[in-house]
């Protein structure tokens, strides 16, 4: 494993650092960053990166990107994380999932047009996949697309659609055949979010903020030229998109070690400073071990990328470990604070960061693939354990049961 850059990587890192030094300010260790999303600032930051040739690093040059290597994207992300910049998550789904799918499956002229627009910060994309009937079981989706000549008429409802309310375009997965088996009746499209018949309703989340939405589609018209892949091949397109999602959502952002120490500096436990208490010190050390494990796992991934190899299955552990740790960290920090742990504004120095995190963190085990599904994937793909028994394989979609057995619980 390598813990140092090659000469080319070091040169790229220097270029990135030069750009960031000139355009942003450095983060202070132990300081919480604002979680507020400023859409205009995010778009402007994307445009500034594009000017410097540091946007769309992984996108081929003929599509307006830098045509760089995965290792360069990692280096850019590592460096940007040390600076105060508008949160990149507004464009996470755009570049992590949608644009790669467009490049792979859309007509080349559409791929080029939208890739360029996104790189410039002019287009934000969302992914219209999950539905009330299909989250973890995505292929259970019921939104209907019916062909009428050169157009498709779409009716249905999507949910958990991140940033749909800020999006210009969306990737859509819909059912075009209810008589085919579940995975065989799906088709993928891209859709203008300003199309008539699209209604976006923000969902108020656990912490009161609204990052995702319900999206209602009523007689939405999509030209057949906006179909991605063949009719009935939607699942193949979705797998391509989700494969990219694993990379995009693989990292979990949370407090660094200095923030934990800072958060405990004024806390007392058993009549002594918490930071001098053996229980607290043991927990901090174990938290450090877990973070180090993730950081060095990232180094293994980076080493593989740096040598032009695909990362091994170790990459899939990062989200699982990070999400669990985030929840445990928030809950334990509040425990250590005692009765004040439930209070967000104890004094004028309080920023309520860990109280907010306590709520926000619960979503990390669900978003981008639930913990349970990801453990299944790990067990089946990496450990080669057999799949679960299923009641939805090889039969027409419309005959799959959707209601629990009558009677329910006694």
């Amino acid at each position: 494993m390598d813990f140092e850059d090659t000469a080319t990587e070091a040169a790229f890192r220097a270029e990135v650092r030069h750009f960031l030094e000139a355009n942003a300010t450095r983060r202070q260790a132990g300081q919480a960053e604002s979680e507020q999303l400023d859409v205009q600032a995010s778009r402007a930051w994307q445009a500034r990166k594009a000017q410097a040739g540091l946007a769309g690093i992984l996108i081929p040059t003929e599509f307006g990107g830098r045509g760089g290597l995965p290792i360069e994207q990692v280096i850019y992300d590592q460096e940007e994380a040390q600076f105060r910049t508008p949160p990149g998550r507004l464009f996470m789904i755009t570049f992590g999932m949608c644009i790669p799918t467009m490049i792979e499956f859309a007509r080349p002229e559409d791929g080029k047009r939208h890739a360029r627009a996104a790189i410039q910060g002019d287009e934000v994309w969302c992914q219209l996949f999950s539905e009330p009937a299909g989250g973890s079981d995505l292929a259970a989706l019921r939104t209907r697309a019916e062909r009428q000549g050169d157009e498709w008429i779409v009716n249905g409802q999507k949910i958990w659609t991140s940033y749909a309310h800020h999006s210009d375009y969306g990737l859509l997965l819909a059912r075009t055949d209810f008589d085919a088996p579940k995975h065989g009746g799906l088709t993928a499209f891209f859709v203008d979010m300003k199309s008539p018949g699209i209604e976006v309703r923000p969902i108020k989340q656990i912490d009161g903020s609204s990052h995702f939405n319900e999206v209602f589609l009523t007689d939405v018209v999509i030209p057949d030229t906006q179909r991605l892949g063949a009719v009935g091949d939607g699942w193949k397109v979705a797998l391509f998109t989700l494969m990219n999602e694993r990379v995009a959502v693989g990292r979990v952002d949370g407090p660094d070690f200095a923030m934990l120490v800072a958060g405990l500096r004024d806390v007392e436990r058993d009549g002594r400073p918490a930071l001098a208490h053996p229980t607290v010190r043991d927990w901090l050390a174990r938290s450090y071990v877990l973070s180090a494990g993730q950081q060095h796992t990232m180094s293994r991934v980076v080493t593989a990328l740096s040598k032009g190899r695909q990362p091994g299955p170790e990459a899939s552990v990062l989200k699982l470990v990070g999400a669990r740790q985030l929840i445990d960290t928030a809950a334990t920090m509040l425990d250590f604070m005692g009765p004040a742990g439930a209070i967000s504004d104890v004094d004028e120095r309080s920023d309520g960061y860990f109280q907010d995190l306590f709520l926000r963190a619960t979503g990390e085990r669900i978003a981008g693939g639930t913990e349970e599904i990801m453990l299944n994937v790990l067990a089946e793909r990496v450990l080669k354990l057999p799949g679960d028994m299923r009641a939805d394989k090889g039969i027409p979609f419309r005959t799959i049961g959707t209601q629990a057995a009558a009677g329910g619980r006694p």
Binding site: L275, R281, T297, E314, V317, L378, A379, L383, D388
Partner: protein, 346 residues
């Protein structure tokens, strides 16, 4: 063999030595191949995977001590025979229950003669030399190399949960010894040696943990219950996936530890070693326990190999100090000094 009194399987040891394993991290001038510390780590992983009943880890730790701190004449005296496997070395640090601490060392060296009793010395009955932690006349702790064939040394094989890794009590009575003077002095030197030993041990632990996971997965695919392979039940597959996660995190920490062991920054080595040790101990203990659980009743029998790993996992998790000890070492390193000062007075 599990009785703990079996003689060294000399054929296997001779073969390992002939393959050059024992000399892989020893300079060529002493007959080693000098491939490096990271290669040694990978060999430790293999020993852990196969539960090979050989003193590979013990002898490697002794070689690391002599390489780290031995004066040239001590290196000349010992390294060649350790590197070709004709001598076996070990570490003798501990004397009683409880985690490593300077106060827990009573062995004493006066005028190059050692008195004291060491316990839980791995492969102590087979070893030709031991690296011993002892106090000198001025109470300063040092590391000493001791030839164990001297008549003043008495040895007792200790009953041990893992008989395949024999443990011994060594009694020294005015035993001649030589101080390792080239390294860091005092308890810091012992800590640095324990850190290198912890990194090597982490690789052995990861090898053992991976073997447990492989066994459990093989069994979960073959074993049928309720008309299906038990590996198709999420209760089993999620359990095994979590072991995979624990092992990969430990592997990442251990890999960093292997790199840090070749750098010159003592704090960095200690920090990396603590992370490697804590995560590898936990990964191996969890894997060994859940391997038995996945096997069900058969895993609880003498004839299954599951218990051999369960024994080894616990032995390795305590033999260089518990995870609690290493957590304290790490906390002292990573919680900033200004906050550590608040610790004074407690």
């Amino acid at each position: 063999m599990l009785s703990g009194t079996a003689a060294l399987p000399s054929e296997l040891w001779a073969e390992i030595a002939a393959l050059g394993w024992t000399g892989v991290a020893v300079p060529e001038q002493y007959g080693g191949s000098d491939i490096g510390f990271e290669a040694l780590c990978l060999l430790c992983e293999e020993v852990g995977r196969t539960l090979a009943p050989i003193p590979f880890l013990s002898s490697s730790m002794a070689m690391q001590a002599i390489l780290m701190a031995g004066a040239p004449d001590e290196q000349d005296r010992w390294l060649a025979t350790l590197a070709d496997g004709s001598s076996i070395g070990t570490l003798a640090i501990f004397e009683r229950s409880g985690d490593p601490a300077p106060d827990a060392i009573s062995a004493r060296v006066i005028d190059s003669r050692l008195d004291g009793v060491k316990i839980a010395v791995p492969d102590g009955t087979a070893a030709d030399l031991a690296i011993v932690a002892a106090k000198q006349a001025d109470d300063e702790i040092g590391l000493f190399v001791v030839a164990l064939d001297h008549p003043s040394v008495s040895r007792r094989s200790m009953a041990n949960i893992d008989g395949m890794r024999p443990q011994a009590e060594l009694r020294f009575s005015a035993t001649p010894c030589a101080r390792l003077t080239g390294g860091v002095d005092g308890w810091n030197g012992v800590e640095a040696l324990l850190a290198k030993a912890a990194v090597l041990t982490a690789f052995e632990q990861i090898g053992g943990a991976q073997a447990c996971l492989d066994m459990a997965c093989d069994y979960a695919v073959k074993r049928m219950a309720f008309g299906r392979a038990i590996g198709s039940f999420q209760a089993i597959k999620h359990k095994l996936a979590r072991l995979f996660i624990a092992i990969e995190l430990a592997r990442s920490n251990a890999s960093y530890g292997a790199w840090a062991a070749t750098q010159s920054d003592r704090g960095q080595l200690l920090e990396a070693a603590a992370c490697a040790r804590i995560s590898a101990s936990e990964a191996f203990e969890q894997s060994a326990t859940e391997n038995i659980q996945t096997h069900g009743g058969i895993g609880y029998t003498w004839e299954s190999d599951c218990h051999l790993f369960h024994r080894r996992a616990k032995l390795l998790a305590v033999n260089l100090g518990s995870t609690g000890y290493w957590s304290r070492v790490l906390a002292d390193l990573v919680i900033p000094a200004s906050d550590r000062e608040a610790n004074h007075g407690f």
